[in-house]
Symmetry: D3
Subunit: 289 residues, 6 copies
Amino acid sequence: MFYKPDMMDAFADYDSAKYVIFGVPFDATSSFRPGSRWAPDAMRKASVNFETYNQHFDIDFEDLLIHDIGNLEPYSSVDETLEDLYHAVRPIVKDGKIPIMMGGEHSLTYPCVKACAEEAGEEIGFVVLDAHFDLREEYGGIRNNHACVSRHVRDDITDTYVTIGVRSGPKEEWVYAKENGIKYYTADDVRETGIKQVISEVKEYLGCKKIYLSLDMDAIDPAYAPGLGTPEPFGLTDIDVREVIRALAPISIGFDVMEIAPEYDNGISALLGTKLLREFIAAHAASEK
Amino acid sequence: MFYKPDMMDAFADYDSAKYVIFGVPFDATSSFRPGSRWAPDAMRKASVNFETYNQHFDIDFEDLLIHDIGNLEPYSSVDETLEDLYHAVRPIVKDGKIPIMMGGEHSLTYPCVKACAEEAGEEIGFVVLDAHFDLREEYGGIRNNHACVSRHVRDDITDTYVTIGVRSGPKEEWVYAKENGIKYYTADDVRETGIKQVISEVKEYLGCKKIYLSLDMDAIDPAYAPGLGTPEPFGLTDIDVREVIRALAPISIGFDVMEIAPEYDNGISALLGTKLLREFIAAHAASEK
Amino acid sequence: MFYKPDMMDAFADYDSAKYVIFGVPFDATSSFRPGSRWAPDAMRKASVNFETYNQHFDIDFEDLLIHDIGNLEPYSSVDETLEDLYHAVRPIVKDGKIPIMMGGEHSLTYPCVKACAEEAGEEIGFVVLDAHFDLREEYGGIRNNHACVSRHVRDDITDTYVTIGVRSGPKEEWVYAKENGIKYYTADDVRETGIKQVISEVKEYLGCKKIYLSLDMDAIDPAYAPGLGTPEPFGLTDIDVREVIRALAPISIGFDVMEIAPEYDNGISALLGTKLLREFIAAHAASEK
Amino acid sequence: MFYKPDMMDAFADYDSAKYVIFGVPFDATSSFRPGSRWAPDAMRKASVNFETYNQHFDIDFEDLLIHDIGNLEPYSSVDETLEDLYHAVRPIVKDGKIPIMMGGEHSLTYPCVKACAEEAGEEIGFVVLDAHFDLREEYGGIRNNHACVSRHVRDDITDTYVTIGVRSGPKEEWVYAKENGIKYYTADDVRETGIKQVISEVKEYLGCKKIYLSLDMDAIDPAYAPGLGTPEPFGLTDIDVREVIRALAPISIGFDVMEIAPEYDNGISALLGTKLLREFIAAHAASEK
Amino acid sequence: MFYKPDMMDAFADYDSAKYVIFGVPFDATSSFRPGSRWAPDAMRKASVNFETYNQHFDIDFEDLLIHDIGNLEPYSSVDETLEDLYHAVRPIVKDGKIPIMMGGEHSLTYPCVKACAEEAGEEIGFVVLDAHFDLREEYGGIRNNHACVSRHVRDDITDTYVTIGVRSGPKEEWVYAKENGIKYYTADDVRETGIKQVISEVKEYLGCKKIYLSLDMDAIDPAYAPGLGTPEPFGLTDIDVREVIRALAPISIGFDVMEIAPEYDNGISALLGTKLLREFIAAHAASEK
Amino acid sequence: MFYKPDMMDAFADYDSAKYVIFGVPFDATSSFRPGSRWAPDAMRKASVNFETYNQHFDIDFEDLLIHDIGNLEPYSSVDETLEDLYHAVRPIVKDGKIPIMMGGEHSLTYPCVKACAEEAGEEIGFVVLDAHFDLREEYGGIRNNHACVSRHVRDDITDTYVTIGVRSGPKEEWVYAKENGIKYYTADDVRETGIKQVISEVKEYLGCKKIYLSLDMDAIDPAYAPGLGTPEPFGLTDIDVREVIRALAPISIGFDVMEIAPEYDNGISALLGTKLLREFIAAHAASEK
Ligand SMILES: [Mn+2]
Ligand SMILES: [Mn+2]
Ligand SMILES: [Mn+2]
Ligand SMILES: [Mn+2]
Ligand SMILES: [Mn+2]
Ligand SMILES: [Mn+2]
Ligand SMILES: [Mn+2]
Ligand SMILES: [Mn+2]
Ligand SMILES: [Mn+2]
Ligand SMILES: [Mn+2]
Ligand SMILES: [Mn+2]
Ligand SMILES: [Mn+2]
């Protein structure tokens, strides 16, 4: 009769689970508005609002094997937290499960990509939805700053990197992206080209690689997601992002929803992030039917 | 010199009024976020923000006969509240007036439809803008739950039922809708088909019937209306909903705006709901000029 | 490495636990401001703020056997929820554990008292901290309304009833209290008499009975606890209430913290309620050392 | 069955009423945080939380003749608003009723005192609870600024002026108060002397005069009333203010509760102000039994 | 090492600056929700969120000469504030700089247009983005009300006036606009015609005139900017407004962002307003490269 | 005519100033609720609410030499931020000025004490108002965590350490405090002993030493200061803390107000912290008259 405040419909135990959801309540390098530490629990709370059934994919979450393993206990220090996170995610991947992280700040993506890439044993793609490049090498005196995550993944793990929704960065990042031939689509690009064309190009670029898909929620316009650490006007629509997730979930071996700062709205960012997390699972599960 | 905190421009007394506005501050079966009890007064407060003149219809509210009869005193129990509400609305309809309800939760719509249908003396249509089917027979141990309102209207009052904006429900509801040939347009349908085409099809389906028009505000995307009981991403635009109201108000004999939960934003949901309520009156009045 | 968002320091499993904490996210009969449904999770979140050690009692929670069993899944209907709650609490008591409830509305106290009283097998006392008498027989058309809980406990379960902090009620309740010789201390009484004298009188009145102790947080002044369903000015201080809990926990066989509505402040009511819950456990554990 | 969002228990019509409540949603000269324009409706909403019965005075509001005449329509300009307010209050007083204003900013007190004083036909006293002297002759280029109200009442209407709770002002005001022999009690004075002694001295000072009693809510400590235009730490307790109202209501011919800014808390300032307004009525009514 | 809470990237001193930013924390004639007094500081705070580089124009703010001169100390009275503001802006314009105001309410635009027009020495155009006509001659007893600003600019300073986004006004304003041949585009016009066509028509209408560009943020839909004094549904998109600013900044000799009321959201309106202010500077600077 | 959003009444330039105020918007090691980074600007905003005159000390801030030097640009890393802060404060002290810091988290106190102690050239005392001991050697993997500040000051800088208001800590801290003969007063001690007696004992303990006075705002009860990082019930009153500041300011050579998290209330914590900061200056200045 009693239930735990887990993500809704995460009825499976760890061993039988295909999808393993976890939260990392960590935001120590936040540059503007901290508070993404509250996102994992806010997303679990938001999940109560949603039905188990996804009509688009004709998928019922009651038929899926989802486990919510809880939150990682973070350190105050980002380096130790990332280290710990790596060691926590590595076995999940090794066990053949899809890790789904609820951030927390974007820096946490790095160890998850690393764990997935190692398990894959071949180059994977890294697809990021983000308003920012996150291509700095260091920021605020910290290498593992949230503003550097894509740089380090690209430098250390994989070249096959695409970012969608980008619209903010110092000149150096734009130059770096150009000079290094990085594949990116600004939010304006998406408005002009259409998300379907963008997705088609991204898929072609990725070839047959598996990917890690990372959603920094600030990719989305603040009208849809105002409760964020670094909200950036003129963003993607909620539908654009849903399309990307629907298209790329089937080739994803890891996923995350990052940077929601629930203190800065009355729940709609956590609701949207949770809905998109569930869309990821549905899209992935449908592709395996 | 003194004025009462009524809906703005509700200058008529009851007897002379054509449009009778009332609130029902009741939300006892709310499944996610309660608080629609505060909506009627929030909408009256919001109405202060708007001009008396509607330029689209060249209608000035100062020329209309609108009465704000106040709020219904609710019970804690939904059944007794609905019973009372029926007895409160029936005479309004009998007096040849258009009842306009500010919810409160969606369950309150049932007695209003019933009162209108009885007065009509012939089958009326029931058009609902909603993210949810509300087609359950019972929910949480309560038959008159907000999640069941369309089912009971359809079972008890009229088959001529259309719902627009739907995008959430357990599998059973989708199956039920299909099996019973229910006419529905998802929010995705509207995005693809265009609201004008949808309206045209709805009008054809309704034939020459009069209708009761019910706006569950969660039909609208949370970007426009975040302050709701059960916000559901990927919804209709504000403009879509305005188009439906403009098109259907002339054939409506009752209207309501439901499920606004004002504690969950800083006023914009109540502002939009109130604006749409006023658009209903203007559209209806313009059709009778 | 992962942890669940349980009440902090609830490290024991059910079988070994002495104290069993649970939440009941139910507020359907709320008469003024709903939202106590969010209190259990808000209290778990608040618990992160506190140290494991209680210096007053020299008790470390790490040495205690506490289990957080999760939340009860409520119905929309109060009667069915109370029925279910009774069946959920009865085995906890039967297993020799102390049930500690996080409300939810005050009506939920009834089945907990009942379960405790049945197990005790002899008359227990019922001590309530509350701004309100809750002595109505029925309210808003519902017998099991939060405004009636003390009446039903007194009528059905035990005469040995004291209430502290009361300062609001219809004339009938004051008359009823007088005529039935009910032992009550208003908040003004406490201010004049001093809480230590009040506690001493209460203890004498209770004799050697075991009690169920219920804390409706509105007993406390809104300065200390503004996030409540029915805040009532001129209340008890936080220290007064702590004194009562310290004094009566040792003779308590059940306890609850009710009526926190976390949407109506920024966390301090949940923090105070959680602190008092922990004070109860520490005081009880200290008395058994 | 329908009711208007009036102050609770204001069941009398104007003609039969003894107490006439009205709001003035005006805050145009606010120097720090505007928003007291929202207070009258917030107080009506808060009044729903309270019982009709006041146990201290054994007074039931259902037995009293109270009328809520609504809100005064304000101008943008303070001078015209005050002029209008005077003309609105004058007839209320002439009709032998007690005017009870819900501000709005403190400047609005002037025309109310004037209307009461004229009707009294003899010198009345002016007792103000306020953190501020409000003794400036002009502020921000406006004579009728909220920061000047006591000065103008004193200059134009009555010398018999006492202020309690004062703790903030430019040096000139403190000097002016000293040089003009103004009777004032700082919040520290009240803490040291005790409110009972202060009240006794005030009563002696007033002699047998009737008074106008004005409560600028910032007299009270922000712990009890954080939602204010100019909150000032180290204030009076809620109980202190209740004592003053209980003691002086019987000799009052007008009363107001001013400067609540409801956007700056979650309801507790409006709840306390409304409770104190009701305490005023109960105390006054009890004295006439 | 220390920095002042100025607008980010405003590194120039006054003498060398090309762009002079200032705030006017004044909102005394606000008709619905006051609080635009807090906007200048909220915009400075928001500016921390943005990068120095604008990729669309390839402009780095570190290369521009921007000065933040602080806030104007307002009076309580609108007339004196406007007088003062005129005398504060006139020298800025005389010194050949572009004044950029952060309101405060829209009435403040008048003295800025006047100062710019006088310096220009020839007729300038006045382009306003606004949900409202602001064409009243007087409102609430005050000539310089925010609801009158465009009327007075048109009457006193220039006939060359265009307004975009308008969708609210009393009938008299619509008639006045028609009868006086005022060039306006409603938000619906923009939706139907497309913003690029509108801009092209506006540019043709303006001929070779220099303009003052005024952005009343309520031109934008409340989904993008909910924190406003008078939010009006069915507005322009953020992208529409960005297009207008990009197109007209090069011919602007003054600019302002008005009517943000930061208490009514969690930062996104101030973020968007600040982003648009920066887009204005980038667009202007790019045109002079 | 323009002014900068500095702390009110900070009219002096750096060279002539006696009191130098600065903010450090840093909160990266926050263990519960981050957000003290917003406190310095919130305190500047709050300062607008207060008069220049302090009647208790007959001190007018217009007669004092106060400079607001702005905010320190923090790193993401605590170690580098503390290093930088030390180098920023050292010259202020060297110039014979009193540094007054607005935190930011409590860890920032360490470099300020160090800078002051070095300048003093003899042992200074360290008096802390805090709910927590902050005596850990390390926390969350970070030595310079806010929870360790007093330990490091005591270990590295001075043994003459007193803490008032303490009521929370792991058992190890209480034991450590006992074993090391640390002088502390719990909030309960203060309630029982009276703040005047406590102050007298503290002064005796300090002897003739100069001190650094640090106010972690969580020393104060959450009723007075709810907007904090780690609010702890059962705290000191606002008056208690004012008494300590009044008594110890005259012997202080540095002061700070730390840990306000303004997102967690509607301004009253920043108002109280700012008021206490101003009380410090007034008390210090009065002692030098
Ligand atoms: Mn990112
Ligand atoms: Mn980002
Ligand atoms: Mn519905
Ligand atoms: Mn719905
Ligand atoms: Mn109760
Ligand atoms: Mn109660
Ligand atoms: Mn005043
Ligand atoms: Mn005052
Ligand atoms: Mn305007
Ligand atoms: Mn406007
Ligand atoms: Mn500390
Ligand atoms: Mn602390």
